[in-house]
Each structure stands twice: as structure tokens, then as C-alpha cells.
């Protein structure tokens, strides 16, 4: 009994401190007048040159466009543990943020519960297309296979050996879409594509070795997705193998060998969402970025001299996908 008294005393002290903090600390949030406050919850690092960075970049772009005083941004990254992400989503909702974004397909089930508790807060999540029939939830997704297909076509035309290598993390979600589109594009043009999902989002060593194996096998063009792929780009750079990037513009990594990157411009659909939230419609939208609406853009690397016929084939593929005459095969 005496032992627990000590503990109890301490917990009481802590709780008292906290309650005092709660009473005094209070309302210094939401002080910035009319700023529209956006909170982002993401599963990986916000500077990963991949998935999570794409949403932070997009919201930052919206802020640049609308003015730094008009948009306030908060980010909680690295939250792949469900309970932590849930706490963050709730926390931001409780703090009265205007738009709470859960940037990860695994957050969907959480959002469907949390959004019900906060009907006055707008939520958005991706990559997905389910709004759970909740009026305050929007969903967004990327047709990553589209750009994948186009880049696959280019890769095949640029490959002298006919041998192409892909380095991926785990065969899920966005990565899976991109890789499938790419493989279809390349094989339609007659190339042989070897795919290696290394089983991790962070193991740079394995990603590097996967690239090494592809190169040893004769691959002269490669692509990959997710943050650990930087190692593979390094291998490409050292071996003069061409690289196609996705999610973010990867030309900055290796200027001489990156041909193009499929860049995600979420802001294309999200700024419209911000506007409609301001107008009072909190959710219910299913948004997609793709080649047609400019949310997905193939950004060519100016430093790489792309042959004209390859560029033309790519443009034709893009046009074909946009008008529906071409399918990515997925």
C-alpha cells in the first residue's frame, strides 16, 4: 500500500500540473485572424523526395499562391503508427484546423471514425477514392500508372539493350500503380523489365544492390519509387544508366542521367478543395490528379538531351491517355 501511495502522489501532482496548464494555456491557437489553417499528417519524412514531400510541397505551393498570411500550415510527419496518427488527426481537429489532411492510404479507416466526431472540420485523405459517405471527408488519388506508362514507353525506346530494371519498396498502393503502368508501357514496346520489390521503404543498401544487379544484368534504363530509391539513382549515375523518377522531380539528384520525372502536383486539385471549404462545402469530393488535369506532369530534365522521336512518342502517349484512346493496361 505504501508503495502505491508514492506513485499515486506523483500522478496526482502531474495531473494537477496538467489541469493548471490546461486552464492557463488555453486559446493561443487560432489567433492568426483569417488564416486558413491546414494540418498534414504523413507517414514518412516530409523531405523524402517522394510521397510525403509531395503533399507538403503542394500545400506550400498553395500557400505561396494565396499568400503566406492566408494559409497556415502544420505538419506531423513520420507517423506510420496508427495510434499516433489517430492522435495527431484528432489533435489537429480539436485545435480547430480548417482542413486536416491524412496523407496515407492506411489512414482511411481512422479518418472514417474521427471525421464523425468532428462534423465541422473538413478532412481529406489520399491516396484513395472513398469518402465514406461523410459530408466532411474528401479523398484524393493519383493515377500514377499514367505517367508510369508514358515513362515506360520512353524507357523502352531509349534502351539499347532492351533490358530495363525497376526498384520498388513493397508492392502496395501508389508504388504498385506506378510500377504496373511502367512495366506495361515498356513491355508494350518490346522491352524486358525486371522488377525487384526489396521489401522495405528505407533500406538504401538493398535498393543499391537491386540496382547493381539490374545493371550487371545488362539494364541500361531504370526506374524506381519510394524514398530509399536514392541509392539506386546513385548506381545509375555511376554506371551511366538512365533513370526515370516519380513522385518528385529527381533531376536534382543526378543531372546527367535523369530523363524525366512524373511529378505529383496535388495543388491542382487541392486548391479547389480549399476554395470550396471556404465556401462552406466541407467534403464529399473525390479528386484525382492525372495527366489530363495537369496534376501529374512529366517534367523533362533540361540537361538531358532527349531524342525527338522519343519525345514525340511520349507526347502521343500522353495525349492518348488523356483522350482515352490509350490504356495503361492496369
Amino acid at each position: 500500500m505504501k508503495r502505491t501511495k508514492g506513485i499515486r502522489r506523483l500522478v496526482v501532482v502531474f495531473a494537477a500540473l496538467a489541469l493548471v496548464a490546461g486552464a492557463c494555456g488555453g486559446d493561443d491557437e487560432g489567433g492568426d485572424g483569417d488564416a486558413f489553417r491546414i494540418a498534414i499528417v504523413a507517414p514518412s519524412a516530409s523531405n523524402d523526395l517522394a510521397f510525403s514531400q509531395s503533399i507538403v510541397d503542394a500545400i506550400t505551393a498553395i500557400q505561396t499562391e494565396m499568400g503566406a498570411d492566408a494559409i497556415e500550415i502544420a505538419v506531423s510527419d513520420g507517423l506510420f503508427v496508427e495510434a499516433d496518427a489517430a492522435a495527431a488527426l484528432r489533435g489537429y481537429a480539436e485545435d480547430g484546423y480548417d482542413l486536416v489532411i491524412g496523407h496515407g492510404s492506411q489512414y482511411g479507416a481512422l479518418l472514417s471514425e474521427i471525421a464523425k466526431d468532428f462534423p465541422d472540420i473538413a478532412f481529406a485523405w489520399g491516396t484513395a477514392s472513398d469518402t465514406f459517405d461523410l459530408p466532411n471527408v474528401s479523398a484524393y488519388t493519383a493515377a500514377a500508372d499514367e505517367g508510369g506508362y508514358v515513362q515506360g514507353v520512353m524507357a523502352s525506346m531509349l534502351s539499347a539493350s532492351g533490358n530495363i530494371g525497376v526498384v520498388g519498396p513493397v508492392d502496395v498502393g501508389d508504388a504498385s500503380l506506378y510500377v504496373n503502368g511502367f512495366v506495361n508501357g515498356a513491355t508494350t514496346m518490346g522491352s524486358d523489365v525486371a522488377v525487384n520489390f526489396i521489401g522495405s521503404f528505407s533500406d538504401v543498401t538493398l535498393a543499391t544492390e537491386a540496382a547493381n544487379a539490374h545493371v550487371a544484368n545488362g539494364a541500361d534504363v531504370m526506374t524506381g519509387t519510394a524514398q530509399m530509391v536514392v541509392g539506386a539513382v546513385g548506381v545509375a549515375d555511376q554506371n551511366n544508366v538512365l533513370w526515370f523518377g516519380t513522385q518528385s522531380n529527381q533531376a536534382s539528384l543526378a543531372d546527367s542521367i535523369v530523363v524525366s520525372s512524373q511529378v505529383y502536383k496535388w495543388e491542382v486539385v487541392l486548391s479547389g478543395l480549399v476554395d470550396s471549404i471556404k465556401d462552406g462545402t466541407l467534403g464529399g469530393q473525390v479528386l484525382e490528379i492525372n495527366l489530363a488535369n495537369g496534376g501529374l506532369v512529366i517534367e523533362y530534365n533540361g540537361s538531358y538531351d532527349l531524342p525527338a522521336d522519343v519525345r514525340q512518342a511520349a507526347d502521343e502517349a500522353v495525349a492518348g491517355i488523356i483522350d482515352g484512346s490509350m490504356s495503361t493496361g492496369t
Partner: protein
């Protein structure tokens, strides 16, 4: 010893790890300042986020649940002088077994399936603990080696199952994320308070009490402790040492497995979901549980408040991150600092001549009548 000295030494023994936490937070404050954040605002937010409202307390209790279960399991293993760093894998294994069981059984409602969840979780973890135990006892393979390896294996098995056999059949084929469907409502853990405090914490506390009973009130527990204190004497005394080692890891694993099952069936989404890594599902509970056990001086009952406080630290740290917008990485580093400081503070404890080595601490059924009576 008078009763007054007893209680003050108890309190002192508790204050030391708390002081250590404060020390770690002080270093953390320096890091916060370096990042341009206000430590006072941050730590206030931390306290609030951990204990400052009913919601906060609920979050803390939920966060503490796997810590408590793993911690109690670690305690059992440590008492038999076995180091169990396979918590991560055992948590996953328990989650897999319980999810598999529920997916096989028909859909129902009304808590009927909850006992299945608990039993399957215990079983899954027990298996994942028994394997290293048996490998050690019968093949001499170090449990450190096999638990580390099995952690890796468990993560890949989880990925495989969630992308294939366990995957949500209602989801799109392509681009699907590794998660199950919404699992049967009959397996939802009953809610105790409000809309989110489920019975997980209660189950964990019950397990802690059962562990205490096991260790100090049963023959098996006596043997475990004896083997831990002196394997040679125990063997001489006729205690089957090998079997005790297997048992220790099995019990330890079982509790971790239960934590995994509760993580799935107590989650908001009621699905088993992962991002592809081990830590993505467990939240490093396998490692943080070890720390919790130490905070609790390797005693199952002390681990209860220890898990609550450590859980509060973790929950509060996330509130800190949101309030002052520092990178999540700082929180991870802070977690590490707290562990280092608390572990190192043991020295202070010994210096002040308080608790002896944890192995000989409370539990010995002699003079201090206080210790063995809850």
C-alpha cells in the same frame, strides 16, 4: 527498519527515474531551443496532451496497454535471466494469429469473439517466443540471435499475409494497401468509457496481476526465479533449467502477442494494417516495453504505473510535436534520451544504498512483509 524509513526510501526509489526523465527533458529543451521552439510551451503541451483532459488520459491509457503487456512479459523473462528482444516479432505474431482466427470464423456481433482474440493473440506470441526458447534450450542457439532474426521474419510474413491471403477482398486489386477488411464486430473490444476507451488496459492490468501471481505464488514461477538467480544451483536442486528457459520466453512472447492482438482489435479502424515495416505496426512497443519493464523495477505490479507514465510521455511527446511543430525525429531522439537517462540513473539508486540489484528486489518472501502483499 521503521515504517517511516520504508515509505521514504520507496518514494526516493521512485523519484530517481523521475529525476532522470527530467534530466532527459532538460537536454531535450536544449534541442528544442536549437530548433527555434519554445521548450516551456512545448512541455506544457506535453503535460496537457498526456494527462490534461479525459481524452488525454484515455490516449495515455491506450498507449500504455501494449507497453504494460510487453513490459510484464519482459519482466518474466528477465527473472529467469533471459533477455527477450523479440517483442516486435511476437507482437506481430499475436496480431497475425488473432486476425487469422477471426477471419476464419463467421461474422458476428456482441463480443462473442473477444475471447478468441485474446487466446489467439496469446498463442501467436507464445509460439514466437517458444521457438527461440527451444532453439536456446535444445540447440544452444542464442536467444538474442534468434529473436532478432525472427523479428525480421515476422515483418515479412505480415507483409505477405496482408498483401495476399488476409487482404481486404473489397478493395481494388491494384494499388491496394496492405490491410484487412473491417474485422468482425464480434471481435471489437468492449468499450468501457466514452467512445474509445476499450477494455485493453483492463485486460493488461489483469495480466500484470496474473504474472505477479505466477512469479510469486506458483511453483513454476518459483522455478523461473530460481533459474534466474542461480542456474547451477537450480539444476543441482532438480529444477529443469532448459524447460524453464523455454517457459520464460513462451510466457514473455505470449504477453507480447496479446499486445499485438489488442493493437489490431482495439484500433480505431478495426483492421490489421501496416506500412510494410515492423515498427509501422508495433510503434516500437517491443522495445519501449523493455524500457517500461525497467521503469517498473522488473516487478509486474510496478510496471502498471510505469507503463502509464511512459505511455503518457510518448503521447505527450506527440502533442509537443504538434504544438511547436518540430520534426518527429526530435521525438524519437527524446525517447532515446529518456531511456538512456533512466537506465543510467540506476547507478544513483545503488549509490544511495537503496534497492539492491533488481534480481534480489521485492519478491523475496522475507522481512519486508509489505513487498509481497499487494
Amino acid at each position: 527498519m521503521t515504517s517511516r524509513t520504508l515509505s521514504s526510501s520507496r518514494l526516493q526509489r521512485l523519484l530517481i527515474p523521475v529525476t532522470a526523465v527530467v534530466g532527459a527533458l532538460a537536454v531535450g529543451a536544449i534541442m528544442l531551443l536549437a530548433l527555434g521552439a519554445n521548450p516551456i510551451e512545448g512541455y506544457w503541451a506535453m503535460l496537457e496532451g498526456a494527462f490534461g483532459s479525459t481524452n488525454a488520459l484515455i490516449e495515455t491509457a491506450l498507449k500504455a496497454t501494449p507497453l504494460l503487456l510487453v513490459g510484464v512479459g519482459i519482466t518474466i523473462a528477465f527473472r529467469a535471466n533471459v533477455i527477450n528482444i523479440g517483442g516486435e516479432g511476437q507482437i506481430i505474431s499475436g496480431a497475425i494469429f488473432s486476425t487469422g482466427a477471426i477471419l476464419l470464423l463467421p461474422d458476428t456481433s456482441g463480443f462473442i469473439l473477444v475471447p478468441v482474440v485474446i487466446l489467439a493473440g496469446l498463442l501467436g506470441g507464445a509460439v514466437w517466443g517458444a521457438i527461440p526458447g527451444a532453439l536456446k534450450a535444445y540447440f544452444g542457439v542464442s536467444e538474442i540471435l534468434s529473436t532478432i532474426m525472427l523479428n525480421l521474419v515476422a515483418a515479412q510474413v505480415m507483409n505477405f499475409l496482408l498483401r495476399g491471403p488476409f487482404r481486404d477482398p473489397n478493395a481494388n486489386e491494384l494499388g491496394a494497401i496492405p490491410q484487412t477488411e473491417r474485422l468482425s464486430e464480434g471481435a471489437d473490444l468492449p468499450i468501457l468509457v466514452g467512445s474509445r476507451l476499450h477494455s485493453g488496459p483492463l485486460i493488461a492490468v489483469v495480466m500484470a496481476v496474473l504474472a505477479y501471481i505466477l512469479l510469486w505464488r506458483t511453483t513454476a514461477g518459483y522455478r523461473l526465479r530460481a533459474v534466474g538467480l542461480n542456474p547451477d544451483a537450480s539444476r543441482y536442486g532438480g529444477i529443469p533449467v532448459k524447460r524453464s528457459i523455454v517457459l520464460a520466453l513462451t510466457f514473455s512472447g505470449a504477453l507480447a502477442g496479446l499486445a499485438g492482438a489488442l493493437l489490431v482489435f482495439g484500433s480505431e479502424s478495426h483492421r490489421f494494417v501496416t506500412d510494410g515495416s515492423a515498427g509501422g505496426f508495433t510503434g516500437s512497443a517491443g522495445f519501449n516495453g523493455i524500457v517500461t519493464a525497467l521503469f517498473g523495477a522488473l516487478h509486474p505490479l510496478w510496471t502498471i504505473p510505469s507503463s502509464f507514465l511512459f505511455g503518457g510521455l510518448l503521447v505527450g511527446a506527440n502533442s509537443l510535436q504538434r504544438a511547436v511543430q518540430v520534426p518527429q525525429a526530435l521525438i524519437v531522439a527524446l525517447n532515446g534520451l529518456v531511456v538512456i537517462f533512466v537506465v543510467s540513473s540506476d547507478w544513483l539508486r545503488q549509490r544511495l544504498g537503496l534497492a539492491e540489484d533488481a534480481h534480489q528486489a521485492e519478491g523475496d518472501s522475507n522481512s519486508d512483509g509489505d513487498e509481497t502483499q499487494p
